[in-house]
Symmetry: C2
Subunit: 209 residues, 2 copies
């Protein structure tokens, strides 16, 4: 099994922290997104979608996104549990994870990729070249700010965002918060619960990954 | 348990077909998106995000998106299996489902919501009013066309998109194809495998839902 990663990028970190929490030892290969190695001939043979993360099995099977990687690894290594034991916990965690990904991760990515000069012609990840859309950057910034402000209510008084147990929803939410810095954004100063939660998840050994 | 639906919209259909395949009998309440009933006071109390689908349990728990609804119901009603029995099948189905949702569903929605006059100020679902971005409509159309053309290769010679068994990936792919008509788009005429697949999934009893 091989894990194709980029240690500086948000998407593969979602898988990386998951792997660290599960305590799975996987050979890791860095793909240098800064030098567009994801578009190289060698990597296109691994993943024609030209994105990381990728998990490649010895039989040639590949999972080309975090959803696939997590579903596979979670079935093989169910503990420690990160996706819920009961039906209600499974539903709650999946519900939150989806919202954090589509409203937090995606808004942040839209804002960044459509505005920074280094991403001209790279407004979406992957093989195709898409030009930046300045209006989409503005919309992404507005959505990301709204999402960041909403974390206070989302976490509330709970230890973790989905309740008493750490889950994939915490991983993705931490990644959103940590990479919001690239947009010079972050948690509001008065977001007491969100800041307490962020401190707790960041203190875990997995957060270093 | 109550299911909040809109019989004419793509997102709730993803949950609806899933429920039909599982054979679960749930009280269904229609939310009239055409008249913006999702923004009404009564529905905001059910789902502050102002979107459908929603699954509401008798104890007040709500799942406010398809991911949460499916995870909960799948844990309660594991058979017939729609998300994979083995680790490899679970990974493969989750991988495909994510790709179909982010590249197919979202591109189609971007194209439509940013172009049709009836959706002015409603470029994203939910409570907030976002103006249409014409460049995003164009990008969405290009991506949707590319995605539709790629279904032929995605399905290939397999009975279903993830292999021998029908899964949530088939449900979401069918919804993308069926709602592409709103953009006057569809499967290419020469997409033999994609057309054979689409005919097979559309002939299932669940496709009427």
């Amino acid at each position: 099994m091989k894990f194709y990663d980029c240690s500086t990028a948000p998407s593969p970190r979602r898988a990386r922290v998951f792997i660290a929490e599960k305590g799975i030892d996987i050979e890791t290969i860095q793909v240098d997104l800064g030098n567009r190695e994801q578009l190289s001939d060698w990597f296109r043979k691994i993943n024609p979608y030209c994105t990381v993360p990728v998990l490649s099995l010895d039989d040639g099977t590949t999972y080309t996104n975090t959803a696939g990687i997590r579903a596979y690894l979670d079935a093989l290594y169910p503990e420690p549990n990160l996706m819920g034991h009961t039906a209600q916990a499974k539903g709650r965690i999946a519900d939150l994870q989806w919202r954090i990904e589509t409203e937090g991760m995606m808004a942040r990515a839209e804002a960044l990729r459509n505005s920074v000069p280094g991403m001209k012609g790279r407004a979406l990840t992957g093989l195709e070249a898409y030009e930046q859309i300045p209006e989409l950057a503005e919309r992404g910034k507005a959505r990301a700010a709204r999402f960041l402000a909403g974390i206070e209510g989302l976490v509330g008084a709970k230890p973790f965002v989905a309740g008493d147990s750490y889950s994939v929803a915490d991983i993705d939410l931490m990644v959103v918060v940590d990479f919001a810095g690239w947009l010079k954004m972050g948690l509001p100063d008065d977001a007491v619960n969100a800041r307490r939660w962020h401190e707790a998840v960041s203190a875990r050994a997995s957060a270093k990954f």
